[in-house]
């Protein structure tokens, strides 16, 4: 805890000359039901630098309609069968190794704090790439059942602050 508090003080000191305004960016990815084909989408950042502090996500796949099982689950079904990569123009954050969405971003019952945050240059895309590994279902009497494979929507929201020069209160304002 002491390290985290120091990290937060370091971040606050590093950006004390900036006006910090809340910023949220959404990357929406339609992911098909077929296996192995990556789907990649991005969102363009505004001109000011973006300090990303948190990522939250959800998918339409975690509804009854797409897993077809009339029971509740305590964890994301689809997040356990889809892997992701994410990054900006400069950095692939996971390197060469994709990660299951649930593993990388935490389960979609909450959100993932990034601690010190990730500083992203403005005016560039933030990108997320997904690959489906399986279509979840259940079997009864050795027969596969549940909803058939279909396209699901995945939204990743990057939360943080935009860093504006002192005296500039709104993104895009001239002065």
């Amino acid at each position: 805890m002491a390290d985290m508090e120091q990290a937060n003080r370091d971040v606050a000191n590093a950006f004390r000359l900036y006006n910090q305004i809340p910023a949220m960016y959404v990357v929406t990815i339609p992911l098909g039901g077929d296996l192995g084909t990556p789907a990649t989408r991005n969102t363009q950042l505004r001109p000011e630098p973006f300090l990303c502090k948190r990522v939250s996500w959800a998918t339409t796949g975690d509804t009854l309609r797409f897993y077809g099982l009339p029971m509740t689950m305590n964890a994301s079904i689809h997040g356990g069968v889809v892997e992701c990569r994410f990054g900006d123009s400069f950095t692939t954050f996971l390197g060469q190794n994709a990660g299951l969405v649930r593993a990388v971003f935490g389960d979609s019952n909450g959100f993932l704090e990034l601690g010190k945050g990730i500083l992203l240059q403005g005016s560039q895309p933030v990108e997320v790439s997904l690959t489906r590994l399986a279509w979840p279902g259940f079997s009864a009497n050795d027969e596969a059942d549940g909803a058939p494979p279909a396209e699901t929507r995945w939204d990743f929201v990057f939360h943080g602050v935009g860093l504006l020069p002192q005296g500039v209160e709104a993104s895009g304002a001239a002065g």
Partner: protein
Amino acid sequence: MRPEDGYPATPAQRHLVPAGIGRQARHATRGPWPGRNLGDTRTALDKFLDQPEMQDFTAVVAKYVISAVLGPNPGDNIEAITQLRPEPFVLETITWATDGDLNLPPDTGAGFPFWSWSQQGRAIDIKWGDSFTTFLGRNPSLLSALFGDSNGFLDLPAVALFQGSQNLSVELRRLFWPFQFLADGEPTFFNNPRNIRVDIVFHGVGLLPKGVNQSGSVG
């Protein structure tokens, strides 16, 4: 069991208190909670109000509710607004919930609406903003993705300052009705499509001139 972990304070009852601080800890950005938090004991609002230019204001608790009724058909949408009071509003936290995650009579079904998370929040997308700013730009987001799931609340990484006497607005759009599963290979509704109510609550403080302790007071 620490007193700050919630009310009532007995371990046996702890899991029955959804508003308990201990259960909300994972969604909070402040507080000395172990685990998923930033470890900072001062909130973004605390830091904002500590600024020299904020010392001329009295901060009063402010909460605004936007309540929207959304239809059950794919493509149904609704825009709902709330009017801010005259004083500036500093937004710190957003919470939301819907009655759409409940199995209400006279719906048929097994009657166990025992969801661990919001089904509706994954079948509805949202845009929000005020008169000046559309916070998500052109890209709506799934409700559960943006505000976290309706099991808790979301602290904003930095406060948002809104001019008074303007509208906060929310636009919701239904993508599909989520309560559908296959029974014997046939699509079946677990609970029937209907209008649902979605409430989104904006929590923060109103900034009043020094010496004015109530919104609407002249002096």
